[in-house]
């Protein structure tokens, strides 16, 4: 008879022990050795393990096997909170992104179903690089920067997402794509960059903000809204398609796919230039007639222009009538902004001003929401 452990569900935990240390001492992140050292000098304490502990306490008695990264990256906090664990790898107190990368990969390879991680955008980025969308992840918010879509609202909420996941049969939980975004912690003027997507359980009731139990609505609405955009494309006009997972629907309806970070140019429903640079785009739009921008909303900050899509520079933007800026965004994503406006921040205040005000955002086929855009 096989031991009961072979039937138990396996959940992974990776703690980035230095995540979030910068926040309380006024740093914007702890990416890299230099920032870590400065954070410690400024008296920062490690809080990731503590927050992971809150989540673990809430998961006690759920009857799963916890697979942890070694040492300060999960093993220690799991022991302290009374969890029997499986350990992958041994890590000391000075950890690096490589350790996170290796741990995530080892977990995915060994059949862990879902990885919880305590960290920030930087940690999410590393995990995405490591395992992509192979298995779902749930972020315990710990870092200074948490603009990626894979974070729960709180450690307790992260535990609730995992508990909800465990309440269903393996494989029967619907998965969503969540964008991973990050910005350079050392530069106060840094812009947010989209790095790709990870897989998250669709039980998003506690991911980020309020989310009701309706399921499947979001994807269908975005698919429909993007189909309408494609149907309405005017022959001869030029359409600049922005980055992000929502814009993936526009591309799929047009019959091509590209990297989630790319900016593509379309005319007569044909791709005329893929993954363009700012210079290429300026050149293309200079020769074009009417230019439309089709954009999603990047990350949890409501960034519309100037973050993650810097290829769309001032020269191109000058040629776009603000009425030809088509924005497609999930209604829930807008609600989660908590009434704060969408932002344009291109570095040129005159251009920014042209695109501000109350503007329609397409939230479904034949459905739009009037939402404020501010510079």
């Amino acid at each position: 008879m096989a031991g009961p452990t072979s039937l138990r569900r396996r959940i992974g935990l990776i703690v980035n022990p230095i995540a979030g240390m910068g926040g309380k001492v006024g740093l914007r992140g702890t990416d890299g050795d230099e920032l870590q050292r400065r954070a410690r000098e400024l008296g920062a304490t490690e809080m990731a393990a503590e927050r992971a502990g809150v989540a673990l306490d809430r998961l006690r008695g759920q009857g799963f096997t916890l697979t942890v990264a070694g040492g300060a990256m999960g093993e220690k906090v799991a022991r302290e909170h009374g969890f029997e664990t499986e350990v992958t790898g041994r890590f000391g107190c000075h950890t690096s992104p490589d350790d996170t990368r290796d741990a995530a990969l080892a977990m995915a390879d060994s059949g862990v179903e879902l990885i919880m991680f305590a960290g920030g955008d930087g940690t999410a980025r590393v995990i995405r690089e490591s395992i992509g969308r192979r298995i779902p992840v749930v972020g315990i918010p710990t870092g200074v920067k948490m603009h990626s879509g894979c974070f729960a609202r709180s450690p307790a909420a992260a535990a609730d997402v995992v508990a909800e996941y465990l309440g269903h049969d393996p494989g029967s939980v619907r998965l969503d794509e969540a964008e991973v975004v990050d910005r350079d912690a050392d530069d106060p003027k840094a812009t947010t960059t989209l790095y790709g997507t990870v897989s998250v359980p669709e039980a998003r009731s506690r991911l980020l903000a309020a989310k009701s139990r309706s399921s499947g609505r979001d994807a269908a609405a975005m698919r429909g809204a993007c189909l309408e955009v494609v149907e309405e494309m005017v022959p001869g006009d030029t359409y600049v398609i922005g980055p992000g997972s929502t814009m993936g629907w526009v591309r799929r309806h047009l019959g091509f796919q590209s990297d989630p970070l790319a900016i593509d140019v379309v005319r007569d429903r044909e791709l005329i230039a893929g993954d363009v640079t700012e210079a290429e785009l300026d050149e293309l739009t200079a020769e074009a007639g009417r230019v439309h921008l089709v954009m999603g909303v990047i990350g949890g900050q409501g960034s519309l222009l100037g973050r993650g899509n810097q290829q769309i520079g001032p020269k191109t933007l000058e040629r776009v009538d603000p009425g030809d800026l088509i924005v497609v965004a999930d209604l829930q994503k807008l609600i989660e902004l908590g009434s704060s406006p969408l932002t344009v921040d291109t570095g040129d205040t005159d251009i920014d001003r042209r695109f501000t005000g109350y503007r329609p955002v397409r939230i479904g086929r034949k459905e739009s929401l009037i939402y404020e855009v501010a510079a």
Partner: protein
């Protein structure tokens, strides 16, 4: 839990009626047709090839079965403060009047023989015109959403008649207006433009200014909204939409708090809708067929559905579709759910103008009384806490803090409240704008003891959430059924709403034992 009542619902392992009974068992055997010549009475094309697969039970078994089912409904007969629904007690007098006087009428009768019921319909229209300032009402719609649909198609007919329909293809609504407005506008072919709330709890005027254009066909809006917040700029809103050439529709879903205090027409609206099964005390939802009373200005009257009851010299007649070439026609058979109209008429006549005003005041007072006590419950907060003005007849609260602190969700709270013999509270329409929303509405029906009991139950459940969350998460415990896993409710392979579909999806299952 000293003050709370001890309660347990009956528990039955009741089979589906198709699994009960025995072949050949009958409750009632009608006399045979005898020698009557029935040949050709039913066209061959409509005749069944084989006998219908009906349940075969005695009358007593049928009665017992449905009594058991009625005992398993988890409420709707308890203290029910189901927000946005204006639950009221429906007086038995109305039931008696409609049973004794309406059940045997047929709308196909000669109008000369049904002057009384036509007088009631006409009278009800007059009363609603008085309450709204509109010029004519029609009762065909079978519910609130149906009445919203009537508005969408009436708006469509109005613009089509003026040759502007192609250009005017957008309906404006707000995110806290009942979603049936957006849905019915879309069903009628319009694009929907929704306004997000601003910091005052209603959308800013600038958002509406950005939304109106030469494409605007109309605006469909509720006020106060489902958070109980009244938009004081509503007259400017109507003016803006009118200036753009659109029509304005007032969804009076939340009329209780505004009843007798304002008239839609005086605010400039072109049309409005009342739900007779809510504000006017006809039975609600599953408790009885509904009526969405749609009223409009004389300018829109040519386009509204027919038939309408007309009065001339004390005599009532029906103006049908063929007499109104611009009318959208019928949206339903005959004149609507007449027994419900009679119940609503009997209620509003017994209330009178003074009673209506008093009921409205009571509903606002009761809600604000509840607010005072509810905000003392740890874990519960009010939506838009920074707004200083008082809510009208209902208030949206959030149990987000409770969920954050304890892991107990608002669904768990719903499930636990029914253990104490009150009905599950309403949460919020989609989308949720506050986490873990809950929206009680006191109305004027419930005595203060009932309101206090309901608050005591919620306070007890929130206390349990902090002290022993498992008892809330695994609720209900004292009900007809335990908790239901709703996670796969939208999977078509799993669920069937008819016996035929059930057999198709799951195969025949052996006939179970019959009921005890």
């Amino acid at each position: 839990m000293s003050g709370l009542r001890r309660y347990h619902a009956p528990v039955w392992d009741e089979p589906v009626v198709m699994e009960m009974g025995s072949p050949g068992r009958r409750g009632f055997i009608p006399p045979a047709a005898g020698d009557a010549d029935t040949a050709g009475f039913v066209p061959d094309s409509m005749k069944r090839g084989e006998r219908a697969g009906l349940p075969e039970l005695s009358e007593a078994e049928v009665q017992r079965h449905y009594i058991h089912l009625a005992q398993e409904t988890l409420g709707m007969m308890g203290v029910n403060l189901f927000g946005t629904c204006t639950i009221k007690y429906s007086p038995l007098l109305g039931e008696r009047i409609s049973a004794d006087h309406i059940a045997e009428l047929h709308p196909g009768q000669d109008p000369e023989t049904i002057q009384g019921v036509l007088a009631v319909l006409h009278g009800m229209s007059e009363i609603l015109c008085e309450l709204s300032g509109m010029d004519q009402f029609v009762f065909q719609a079978g519910g609130g959403a149906d009445a919203a649909y009537v508005n969408a198609v009436t708006t469509r007919a109005y613009h089509a008649d003026r040759g502007e329909l192609e250009q005017r293809n957008e309906i404006i609504t707000t995110i806290q207006t009942h979603p049936c407005n957006a849905a019915t506008a879309a069903a009628a072919g319009f694009k929907v433009v929704t306004l997000m709330l601003g910091e005052d709890g209603y959308p800013p005027l600038e958002a509406l200014e950005a939304a109106v254009s030469e494409r605007t066909a109309g605006m469909m809006i509720g006020n106060p909204d489902d958070m109980g917040i009244y938009n004081p700029e509503i007259k400017q809103w109507v003016d803006l939409v009118h200036e753009a050439g659109g029509l304005c529709f007032y969804d009076h879903a939340n009329f209780n708090g505004a009843m007798s205090k304002l008239r839609a027409r005086e605010l400039g609206f072109d049309a409005c809708m009342f739900m007779l099964h809510k504000t006017f005390a006809a039975p609600f939802g599953g408790g009885g067929p509904a009526v969405g009373a749609y009223g409009c200005s004389s300018e829109l009257e040519p386009y509204m559905p027919r038939p309408l009851v007309r009065e001339q010299g004390g005599s009532y007649s029906l103006e049908d579709v063929d007499e109104a070439p611009k009318s959208v026609g019928r949206v339903r058979e005959y004149w609507g759910n007449v027994p419900q109209i009679v119940k609503a008429y009997s209620w509003v006549r017994s209330m009178g103008a003074e009673g209506i005003r008093f009921a409205s005041d009571m509903s606002v007072l009761a809600n604000n009384y509840m607010e005072k006590r509810l905000l003392e419950i740890p874990g519960l907060s009010i939506s838009h806490p920074d707004i200083k003005s008082r809510r009208l007849e209902m208030t949206r609260y959030s149990l987000g803090k409770l969920q954050e602190d304890t892991g107990v969700t608002v669904f768990d709270v719903q499930n636990r409240m029914v253990d104490f013999g009150v009905d599950a509270p309403w949460l919020s329409h989609e989308p949720w704008l506050v986490p873990e929303p809950i929206t009680p509405e006191a109305g004027e029906t419930w005595p203060i003891e009932d309101l206090d009991y309901w608050i005591d139950v919620l306070a007890q459940v929130c206390r349990e959430a902090y002290e022993d969350p498992e008892i809330v998460k695994t609720a209900p415990h004292n009900q007809a059924i335990g908790p239901v896993d709703g996670s796969r409710l939208d999977e078509p392979d799993q669920w069937a709403t008819t016996w035929r579909a059930y057999k198709r999806k799951h195969g025949d299952r052996p006939k179970g034992r019959t009921s005890p």
